[in-house]
């Protein structure tokens, strides 16, 4: 029992630490938030301008704005989780504390649990701001939207994204110099194939194969049905179960991969760079 309490305490250490870091870098956080909001708004404006650009025939710009806004918001939510979780090693390598954290008597599961819980909380706040600004800016009506179904999809999507992120987080363990940058490759690939701003059916066939493997595809397709068409939650099941399956597979796989990577780093001396 006390073991579990100790482990949960250790897990909370990561949440508290990250909150403290965010507080100390508040100016940077503000810049980041403004950047994100501007970015999201500019994408949604494509929907407003699409009619003019294409000659103005029969485009439902209200629908298109919402279509794009859902893309930016879902993507923001998932990618922010991805960045915080993959940074679990990178952040500490940058500060030089990684050896201290990895020699503490905690399981990697509790370690990741803390980092992940923080990532989800942070992402919810971040995405919430983007959502509110977007709704106010474009006067979006969500009268017949199924918000509950949308939420269920986001939660299910977080699970599988967490798994992918844990896998990504081993890169900085394997490649001390460039590992953090390599994680950008994963997120860029997911952005391309997941149909964030367009239906995946416009992609060349060979790329569409990958879109089936990306959890974001299911979250986005489901979210659009829930928010644009008001599809009832039960009818979203075909999008939810693949997410749950991917989560159930990728989280243990991620933890196992992390375990191997940690052993590799301890065998080859990749945890420290000097001293």
């Amino acid at each position: 029992m006390s073991v579990i309490v100790n482990e949960l305490r250790a897990s909370y250490a990561f949440i508290e630490r990250n909150v403290n870091i965010v507080k100390r870098y508040w100016a940077w956080e503000l810049v980041w938030l403004v950047y994100t909001v501007a970015n999201s708004l500019s994408i949604s404006f494509i929907g407003v301008g699409a009619g003019q650009v294409s000659g103005g025939s029969g485009i439902d710009s209200q629908y298109l704005v919402l279509y794009l806004a859902i893309g930016t918001i879902v993507w923001r939510y998932l990618s922010v989780i991805f960045y915080w979780v993959t940074d679990v090693v990178g952040l500490e390598r940058w500060e030089g504390t990684i050896e201290y954290t990895l020699m503490a008597p905690i399981t990697r599961f509790m370690h990741m649990l803390g980092q992940t819980a923080f990532a989800v909380l942070y992402s919810l706040v971040h995405t919430g701001v983007v959502l509110v600004v977007t709704v106010l800016f474009f006067d979006l009506t969500m009268a017949n939207a199924n918000l509950f179904g949308f939420l269920v999809l986001l939660i299910a999507g977080s699970l599988s994204f967490i798994g992918i992120s844990i896998v990504g987080s081993i890169l900085p363990l394997l490649f001390p110099e460039r590992g953090s940058q390599m994680t950008h490759l994963i997120i860029a690939g997911l952005l391309l194939v997941s149909g964030v701003y367009y239906p995946v059916s416009v992609l060349p066939g060979w790329l569409q194969v990958f879109s089936y493997l990306s959890p974001a595809t299911y979250v986005l397709d489901g979210a659009r049905l829930a928010l644009l068409e008001g599809a009832p939650t039960l009818s979203l099941w075909p999008f939810i179960w693949p997410l749950l399956v991917m989560g159930a597979l990728s989280i243990p796989a991620g933890l196992q991969a992390f375990h191997w990577a940690e052993r590799y780093a301890k065998r080859t001396g990749k945890l420290h760079r000097n001293g």
Binding site: A10, E16, R24, P105, R263, L271
Partner: protein, 271 residues
């Protein structure tokens, strides 16, 4: 290996670094660098054990091997009877470490950094907060500094915070890798007194590396001198000095160090 009087048991430990390319097909090429070369030693419970050696002789590597941060290529290490590879978690609950470079979240304050460290070891937050103030003041840090970002502190002050972090989890084995490097003479003394106090009043065993010979002599019960990853001598400071033939003057520990690490040594020099 389960003798309660033995804190650390190192047996024939080898650690190499470098490319292990060619391992797929054919015989493995020998690794580029051997950092720890068949080291064996025992540290007794309650002992302050010093490791001296030139730069790059393998002191920090040895400490990392004991701290579960590196996996040995060969040999075995036990900490209070627990194997550092197979029972890493148990070992981790018993130890803590101070490294040469004080590694912290630089934007966070000592309090925030230490609270994080304490939680990792399951220390309750209110207890940790109290102890942080206690230890840091004991080490001569101003109260104000405890709540300001680490980046505003001098190296010596940061080093004291690092020592506090290691002590916060109340380890029974403390691994101190050059804990006083970069400290002014007074701070050095404060830290040395603290180390002694830990051993005398808190039942801690201490493994310490240093480049300060007088510190080693003043603090350590026994000293191992290593060179090129191998132990070239292991004894009490007094006995080490006895080894050097006197020609007129009494040898210092530094004389012994220079003598033993200055030229290629023969195997029979080993203790």
């Amino acid at each position: 290996m389960n003798n309660p009087a033995i804190a650390v048991q190192v047996e024939n430990v080898v650690k190499r670094f470098g490319e292990q390319a060619g391992g797929w097909l054919g015989p493995k090429r020998p690794a580029a660098k051997i950092a720890v070369d068949r080291v064996s030693l025992q540290i007794r419970r309650g002992e302050i054990f010093g490791v001296l050696g030139p730069n790059g002789s393998g002191k920090s590597t040895l400490i990392r091997l004991i701290a579960t941060l590196l996996l040995p290529d060969d040999g075995q290490i036990g900490v209070f009877g627990h194997d550092v590879v197979r029972e890493a978690r148990q070992v981790q609950t018993l130890i803590n470490r101070v490294s040469v470079e004080a590694s912290f979240f630089k934007k966070l304050s000592p309090m925030e950094n230490l609270l994080y460290g304490a939680r990792l070891y399951g220390v309750p937050a209110d207890l940790a907060r109290r102890r942080v103030v206690e230890i840091l003041q004991r080490l001569g840090l101003e109260e104000r500094a405890i709540y300001s970002p680490m980046e505003e502190m001098s190296r010596g002050m940061q080093q004291k915070v690092a020592i506090a972090r290691a002590f916060l989890s109340q380890p029974i084995l403390l691994l101190l890798d050059e804990p006083t490097t970069g400290l002014d003479p007074r701070s050095k003394r404060e830290v040395q007194a603290f180390v002694r106090e830990l051993r005398d009043n808190h039942d801690a065993t201490i493994l310490l590396t240093t480049h300060d010979m007088s510190e080693a002599e003043a603090l350590c019960d026994r000293i191992a001198i290593i060179d090129g990853g191998r132990i070239v001598a292991l004894d009490t400071p007094a006995a080490l000095k006895q080894r050097l033939p006197r020609n007129g003057h009494a040898p210092t520990l530094e004389d012994v160090f220079l003598e033993l690490t200055g030229k290629p040594l023969t195997a029979d020099d080993e203790a």
